[in-house]
């Protein structure tokens, strides 16, 4: 019974997001037909890539319940990017840079996991602390200066476009979302995550290693942030110590908008993906119409409230 209701919930969110997306696109079409070019599609996907990866990490942490939240994702992105560039300067062979960024992210994420599961610190507090530690460390290590010297072959990958789809989106974001979707829907592992999030105690009683699973999920979230850091390097051509600024809240917004229940146990990666695309499309559309950026913040907030309200009302009607 629960499973059916979950399904209905996420289908509802997906429909709603798709509909909103159509509305945004329609309004844009009416207001500014010139927007409709393949270049705009490329732009939207380009700016979605980093947010999509980070939001996926945020989503799986929230989904696993126990008040799970990862406020440090932005800090992890900044610090992994800086760590990768510093390692490169210290003589790391450049072909190891991708692995270094992802690994650094995974370690930083796992540290969150240890704080939360082994030391039983509330995730909100633990990751707020590590958010300051990581982003502060990224600034301190560089003195606030951008780190240049990204290898040329990485830039070629980061800036190339295949039939309007940016290479990082095609080669990292899409596969990662596909894998996450398959794991969550069709494997025991995926079921475990929902079970932990839905009812931690019963999950524990049926023998699911709750703490270990959560530790791994925090690590995975970190690794995804590390991958986002790598993409930022390949795309921008330098490591910025504050590249992850605001990602914690943006990713949380995307996860909530995508139908992930803040209490855990409900939601799917499809919704998160749709939410990211919707958010970036909306932002792009407003920029194309030259709407003041200050208003954009408010509009995103209103959208979030609207979708959550619709979701809540639909549950009450049932």
């Amino acid at each position: 019974m629960n499973r059916i209701r979950n399904l209905q919930g996420s289908t509802l969110v997906l429909t709603l997001l798709a509909l909103l997306w159509v509305v945004v696109v329609f309004v844009l079409l009416v207001l500014k037909p010139s927007v409709f070019s393949l270049a705009t599609v490329t732009t939207i996907l380009q700016f979605s890539t980093i947010l999509a990866l980070v939001s996926l990490g945020q989503a799986i942490v929230v989904m696993a319940g126990g008040a799970g939240i990862d406020l440090s994702v932005g800090g992890i992105v900044s610090l992994s990017a800086i760590f990768g560039m510093l390692a490169l300067k210290a003589g790391l062979p450049s072909f190891l840079l991708p692995a270094t960024c992802v690994f650094a992210g995974a370690v930083l994420g796992a540290f969150n996991g240890i704080l939360v599961t082994r030391l039983s610190i509330l995730p909100l507090i633990a990751t707020l602390g590590t958010f300051f530690i990581y982003s502060g460390l990224a600034l301190a290590l560089t003195g606030g200066a951008a780190q240049s010297g990204v290898p040329g072959w990485l830039l070629i990958w980061g800036r190339s476009v295949f039939s309007s789809i940016p290479a990082p989106f095609l080669t990292i974001a899409i596969p990662v979302f596909a894998i996450a979707g398959i794991v969550l829907m069709w494997t025991a592992w995926g079921r475990w995550i929902y079970a932990i999030g839905f009812n931690e105690r019963s999950a524990h009683l049926v023998g699911i290693p709750v703490d270990r699973a959560r530790l791994i999920l925090y690590g995975l979230s970190g690794a995804l942030s590390g991958a986002a850091a790598l993409i930022s390097l390949a795309w921008l051509g330098s490591g910025r110590p504050n590249i992850g600024q605001n990602l914690e809240l943006e990713s949380l917004t995307a996860a909530m908008l995508g139908g992930i229940a803040i209490s855990g146990g409900r939601g799917g990666v499809g919704g998160v993906f749709a939410a990211v695309i919707l958010l970036v499309t909306l932002k792009t559309g407003l920029l194309q119409l030259n709407v003041n950026t200050v208003w954009q913040l408010g509009i995103v907030g209103a959208l979030l409230v609207f979708v959550l309200l619709a979701d809540r009302l639909s549950q009450r009607w049932r």
């Binding site: 500014k32 010139s34 921008l236 051509g237 330098s238 590249i243 600024q245 792009t284 003041n292």
Partner: protein, 328 residues
């Protein structure tokens, strides 16, 4: 659900009516992307840009991030390119704010250039610079000598000891002093970090240790209030002149009280004007001359072809008399 769609349609119809009026004209479009919106400095640049747009017959688009985040800035630049404006000027937070899009802009024949803050090796068309470090350093010494004479003792209070722009200014002050005014005595720079309190303390100590000191230069804008307050509380208004690189809004009350004789900076409104003018030149395909006549500028604007820098001109000097004309 039908209700939502209907509402959305109504909203879109309404905004269509509004925007079709706004997009009716077909003038060349020049955009400026600041580092951050909502601060007086860039507001002044926007005002200057708007004035230029009206006088030169272009559309001026001013759009910037709400946080100093290079990705947000890049996104704005990218969207301006997709929109197909004719020229885009950016006060870059970092070279990465434009590096990924230089090629895209070129492909669409959009003039991408920097203003206020530069990314030298990015392939930008031109850099509209506010002032040179040399000009800022020399101007403050020249203006001080006018007021206290050539045989004065002058203290220097800076901000962070590691700030490269501040150190460059101090270097040019010392150079100007030794080259033009050999009898002028510049004391060793003191570093106050980022706080006004520390600057006040240092200035107080400077005046106590050097009773014959004639002037104190506040190099970082954060040190201006501290230096001024120290001069005021020591009761040395008139005997010691404060000066520095700070905005009219920061220095206004001290200029009025007499604690500060003058401050040196540039006028961001003029910089905004020059930015739009440069965009128009680029769109029209006119090359910059070594000296350019710009409407509304007293002096010709110089262009350094080797570095690709269009220079606003000598720094502006703000005094008690003219400070009320500026708001930034």
């Amino acid at each position: 659900m039908l209700k939502h769609i209907r509402k959305a349609l109504a909203v879109s119809a309404l905004s269509f009516a509004v925007s079709s009026a706004a997009f009716a004209q077909d003038k060349p479009k020049v955009a400026f992307v600041p580092q951050l919106i909502g601060i007086p400095y860039f507001n002044a640049m926007e005002a200057g840009g708007n004035r230029a747009a009206k006088e030169l017959g272009v559309d001026f688009i001013y759009s910037g991030p709400v946080d100093t985040n290079p990705v947000d800035q890049l996104q704005i630049v990218q969207n301006l390119i997709d929109q197909g404006v004719n020229a885009i000027s950016v006060s870059v937070l970092d070279a990465s704010s434009i590096a990924p899009v230089v090629a895209a802009a070129e492909a669409k024949n959009i003039k991408l250039f920097t203003s206020d803050s530069d990314a030298p090796d990015s392939g930008r068309a031109v850099y509209v610079a506010q002032a040179t470090d040399e000009g800022l350093g020399a101007t403050i010494i020249d203006e001080l000598v006018k007021r206290v004479g050539e045989e004065a003792k002058i203290g220097i209070v800076s901000g962070e000891a590691t700030a490269s722009n501040l150190n460059a200014w101090i270097g040019f002050m010392q150079k100007q002093a030794s080259a033009k005014y050999p009898k002028l005595q510049l004391l060793e720079p003191q570093y106050a970090g980022g706080t006004a309190e520390r600057a006040a303390q240092i200035s107080g100590d400077l005046m106590a240790a050097n009773p014959d000191i004639k002037a104190i230069i506040a190099v970082a804008s954060t040190t201006c209030p501290g230096v001024a307050q120290a001069i005021e509380t020591a009761g040395k208004i008139g005997a010691v002149i404060g000066a520095g690189y700070c905005s009219p809004n920061t220095a206004r009350s001290y200029l009025k009280s007499g604690a500060f004789g003058f401050t040196v900076l540039w006028d961001p409104a003029q910089l905004g004007y020059l930015t739009v003018w440069a965009g128009k030149q680029l769109i029209d395909g006119k090359a910059f001359e070594a000296e350019n006549k710009v409407p509304g500028f007293d002096n010709p604007v110089t262009y350094d072809a080797t570095k690709g820098i269009l220079l606003l001109g000598p720094p502006a000097v703000f005094t008690a008399e003219n400070v009320d004309k500026f708001d930034f």
